[in-house]
């Protein structure tokens, strides 16, 4: 699938190519000369319709005497052997010399890269030359200069002394402009982040969000754990996308170990992934009502969510579907009794959810708050590489389940809902439509569930291999990249969650709206802080 692109690129940029390989199907890795990297990235982005899905910095000095940067693109497939509408991954990699720890920033051409590059600067000490906003991102001002946690000579347990330095927030000045600081500890029971609104009266002029309060060193920790324990870590990247992250992790390692998991495991994974989407979306729709003060809708949504959580617990033993995944398949099977339980519960949920929607979504007071609030334009969404519900509500037709089919998604038929308004209402409606699609997917899978084993044993994984693992979580694409080390450990584990790419869009959407609409806009994106901060 990637051959045609490769041929095209080699003719265009023949002077810049050093090497290429396809370690796993559908992932092409091209090593390029550093000076040509920006040009090739721009070519892929501007001419081929590629989107930047991840960017990884890795300290490979012990292996080949330098740092390495990886740029991951998702490209529309073309050529005769390619199924209509599918996409493939092309990954550029380049070496960064230890003596000159800097690289040319691609942010001016591809805004989607701006956080990746700042993160690489913080954690690896490589300077993105030409980055328009090279402030600190992951490590806050309490972190002293000269310590780079993701370098191999930095030990996970090191705790450098606390320093204090000022962090400069962008300010809006003028007559009647007020600053409203919010957080990191919020009034509600939600995660920590700092928001600073500049407003005139009720109208917001500018919003700056400061995140990464929850940075706990997840990626570094994964490097010292055996791969079996890394799975527990993957499940704890995020509470409510737990199964999605765990599946991404397992899929990457299964690709690296080159094993085929049983068909039944694929089906069951898909069912659990959809159950995860269900409880999240149903809860989110209820939560929107909390933002508009429609408490009946909120209570009803919470009740339906609780029913789905109880279903999760009844079939897997955990309300968050934890402890089910393992590298090589699943740990527990689904009995016939539980299969019927899922079907009957979902039928009931479908009925009740439909009734809830009929009440809450057509009220004039509700529509007044939701419609034309917090509009994310398609251009901004594309520039920032926004994914998931937010992308599909702004007219970006992307869904990993269809574009890069994994697990058993190629065995079922489903629609990918799409809207173009880009407002809060559109994001809520996308979720509503996806709830019904999810139920349809689960029903199809349960009707045709194959029998057989649910896992294959994976004792060890080969060293210095790499692959992507990806899933479409309730919030969007979760893309994990793993490079293995000897003794069945990980050399580098890069987690790119859906929230990570969607967060920068929120502050751009808010200006022009009124302060009381911010919670509503925030809830309509419903992003997770933990999978962003890591």
């Amino acid at each position: 699938m990637t051959d045609t692109y490769f041929n095209e690129l080699t003719t265009q940029f023949s002077y810049a190519f050093l090497d290429s390989e396809t370690p796993v199907p559908d992932e092409l890795y091209i090593t390029v000369k550093p000076e040509a990297c920006v040009g090739i990235c721009r070519y892929l982005y501007e001419k081929c319709g590629a989107s930047l899905v991840s960017m990884v910095g890795s300290d490979e000095r012990p292996l080949n005497g330098g740092f390495r940067l990886y740029y991951f693109f998702s490209l529309p497939g073309h050529g005769s052997s390619v199924p209509q509408g599918s996409r493939s991954f092309v990954n550029l990699q380049m070496k960064v010399d230890e003596r000159h720890p800097e690289f040319t920033s691609i942010t001016p051409y591809m805004p989607a890269a701006h956080w990746y590059e700042r993160e690489i600067q913080d954690l690896l000490g490589l300077k993105p030359v030409g980055h328009p906003d090279p402030r600190r991102l992951v490590l806050h001002e309490n972190w002293p200069k000269g310590f780079y946690p993701l370098r191999k000579d930095f030990d996970y347990k090191t705790q450098p002394p606390r320093t204090s330095e000022d962090f400069e927030m962008k300010r809006v000045e003028g007559e009647g402009v007020f600053e409203i600081p919010v957080g990191p500890v919020h009034a509600g029971i939600i995660e920590p982040g700092h928001f600073r609104f500049s407003s005139v009266g009720e109208k917001i002029l500018n919003l700056e969000a400061r995140l990464f309060y929850k940075h706990k060193g997840t990626e570094k920790l994964a490097e010292i754990l055996p791969f079996t324990k890394g799975l527990f870590l993957a499940e704890r990247i995020c509470g409510v996308c737990s199964f999605s992250h765990a599946t991404s992790y397992c899929q990457a390692l299964e690709k690296i170990a080159n094993i085929q998991i049983p068909e039944r495991a694929h089906y069951l994974r898909t069912i659990f992934l959809e159950l995860e989407r269900l409880y999240n979306h149903v809860g989110d729709v209820g939560n929107i009502c909390a933002g508009t003060g429609l408490l009946v809708g909120n209570a009803q949504g919470m009740l339906l969510k609780e029913k789905l959580m109880e279903l999760n617990e009844a079939i897997t033993g955990n309300r968050y579907l934890r402890g089910m995944n393992t590298v090589g398949g699943l740990r527990r099977d689904l009995s016939e009794e539980k299969r019927i339980l899922i079907l009957s519960t979902l039928r009931q949920i479908q009925k009740e959810f439909k009734a809830l929607i009929d009440v809450i979504m057509f009220l004039s007071t509700q529509r007044d708050r939701l419609e034309t609030t917090g509009i994310l334009s398609q251009q901004v969404a594309r520039d920032l590489g926004v994914v998931g519900v937010a992308a599909r509500a702004s007219g970006l037709d992307s869904d990993l389940r269809r574009d890069h089919p994994y697990a058993a998604y190629d065995k079922v038929s489903f629609k990918v809902p799409l809207r173009t308004e880009g407002d809060v209402s559109a994001r809520v409606w996308i979720r509503i439509e996806e709830v019904f699609e999810s139920i349809r997917i689960i029903e199809q899978l349960l009707d045709t569930l194959p029998s057989g084993d649910i896992r294959v044993e994976v004792k060890e994984i080969p060293p210095y291999k790499y692959a992507l693992g990806y899933t479409e979580s309730p919030r969007g694409a979760n893309i994990h990249w793993i490079m293995t080390a000897p003794d069945s450990r990980l050399y580098r584990y890069k987690i790119r969650s859906a929230s990570y790419v969607n967060w920068p869009a929120v502050p751009l959407v808010v200006p022009g709206n009124i302060v009381p609409d911010f919670p509503l806009i925030n809830k309509s994106f419903n992003l997770c802080y933990s999978c962003t901060d890591l």
Binding site: F147, Q159, I189, H215, K216, G217, R236, G239, E306, D333
Partner: protein, 187 residues
């Protein structure tokens, strides 16, 4: 763990047991709160770096199934109104100051409850460059609620334990106040 190892009760029975248990727990707790405070119990939740699962379980306590407020338990927006701090997460380096300030803003006598494996011991994260390894490395913790995440019932059970602890704390404080010759402040 093996697939044969855990067989659950029938889901409906399981839920039945849990619901009955919830009522008993809640009523017991409500009685205790009434005795100690003569008003409802005010809780402030602080996230010090959790994965969000603990937050959702605490939020679930307010849904119509658990409906915590009927037992006289209320989540407040500011630590200045709180009797109890529920802290989740292993305390990330970037939240250390925020957690300390929240604690300092909470009036005495106050209780700190560590919710979830990370808050209790650092969990999977332990002590690292960005994780301080548990709430008790930073604040005095009165009650630990283990679990990843703890179920809503477990959090209720933890609150019940916390009330016993608070009773002791108040008794001790009143006694020491008297001892020093100060006037006795009844809560």
């Amino acid at each position: 763990m093996d697939q044969e190892m855990i067989e659950f009760q029938k889901p409906e029975e399981n839920q039945e047991v849990l619901r009955t248990h919830l009522e008993e727990l809640g009523n017991h707790l409500s009685e205790k709160i009434g005795k100690i405070f003569g008003r409802s119990l005010h809780i402030r939740e602080v996230d010090s770096g959790s994965c969000n699962a603990c937050e959702w379980e605490i939020t679930a306590l307010s849904n119509p199934v658990y409906d915590l407020e009927r037992f006289g338990i209320y989540f407040v927006a500011s630590p200045r109104h709180a009797d109890v701090l529920l802290v989740t997460g292993p305390v990330s380096r970037n939240l250390y100051t925020a957690l300390l300030k929240t604690y300092e803003a909470t009036p005495e006598p106050k209780l700190v409850i560590a919710v979830g494996a990370c808050a209790c011991s650092g969990g999977l994260f332990q002590k690292g460059y960005a994780s301080l390894g548990g709430v008790d490395k930073v604040l005095p913790v009165d009650v630990y609620i283990p679990g990843c995440p703890p179920r809503p019932q477990a959090i209720l059970q933890g609150l019940l334990l916390a009330m016993d602890k608070l009773e002791q704390k108040i008794r001790k404080r009143n006694f020491s106040d008297l001892h020093e010759g100060d006037t006795c402040h009844r809560p």
